[in-house]
Symmetry: C2
Subunit: 201 residues, 2 copies
Amino acid sequence: MVQDVARAGLSRERLIAAGAELADEEGFEQVTVSALARRFDVKVASLYSHLRNSQELRTGIALLALAELADRAADALAGRAGRDALTALADVYRDYAHEHPGRYAAAQLRLDPETAAASGGVRQAQLTRALLRGYDLPEPEQTHAVRLLGSVFYGYVSMELGGSFSHSSPGPEESWTRILDALDTLLRTWPTPSAPTPTGP
Amino acid sequence: MVQDVARAGLSRERLIAAGAELADEEGFEQVTVSALARRFDVKVASLYSHLRNSQELRTGIALLALAELADRAADALAGRAGRDALTALADVYRDYAHEHPGRYAAAQLRLDPETAAASGGVRQAQLTRALLRGYDLPEPEQTHAVRLLGSVFYGYVSMELGGSFSHSSPGPEESWTRILDALDTLLRTWPTPSAPTPTGP
DNA sequence: TGCATTTGCCTAAAGACTTTAGGCAACTTA
DNA sequence: TAAGTTGCCTAAAGTCTTTAGGCAAATGCA
């Protein structure tokens, strides 16, 4: 019983990349060590030389997605400011989620603090903060605004992908534009608290 | 070998309620037919007389959470308007997520269209729309605003629960308040596409 | 009250995924 | 080309899901 014993050329990198493709094609829920082994036409146990466990596979995909998002965000913001930059950054998230729904779902995985701190998520926050420089907000407010923008981008895209908007009249595209209009306005006229936060002594 | 053959008194209702508790205690990921059977000290197969499959269990928990959220939202909005109503509704989501993280995670499950249409999610959207009556927005804009509020509530709470805000300086509580301030302002000065906000000449 | 039917939980079993242990062949290197 | 390392393999145990069929308790009816 002679077999083709050519090696499959597995590696952590390739496995995670293939896992990301699998996620986009079949859904992140379907990403499994077994499915991945099938895709490489290899026995399941073989993957465990490259991955500690299935969690590492999922986490790897999440980190890949977060890094890709940060890269795209950096690209989108280069040379832009104000409303233009806001739209560009927002569209990075929306477009990525549409192109790579499985990866986007992976990016929402809860990571343990150290892993999260070393992820592209941090860079994304920095980039959002950079975007806000065009809006001239006082420092304590800037953090709040970063969080607002993150929430809207993340929330809107998740809800749209989840079909929350697919059964009422204006298409999600139109709301997206109008919401970005509104956020732009809001950032230009950001209300400071009546009793301003103590910035220092 | 005489056994205690008293019946466990299982029912779809009780199973889903217990599943919701399990979700809050152990995490929605850990909600499994097997774990539930263990909790009732009953054999796994017994649950399949009450549940078509494990998906039905998860969906049931999601629908329970969506209904509970809608109930709380209705309660919170009763007799309130404007900024007061906005805060009350927003806190419904945030408080619920903190009290019942497993159920909240369940509520984010993608439901098929018919199920979603019959869920508490619809009522939540209606209630959000009712809240906006206090802000007097023209009709096409109202839908956009509903979606914005939904996105912010959902996005912010998810990110906070996911730990996205736990490693930067102002606590999530403070940002929440400031963001609600900002949204209140935004809704009062909502920019319409034809007549842009008088930001300047 | 006694009998028949229904109901509720059981045993058994098969299939899928995860993970570990240990083996052999194919590469690498000297 | 012999020795060592690496890469994928077989084997096996554990968990979860789901279906089929069985027995006894609960219920309904005369």
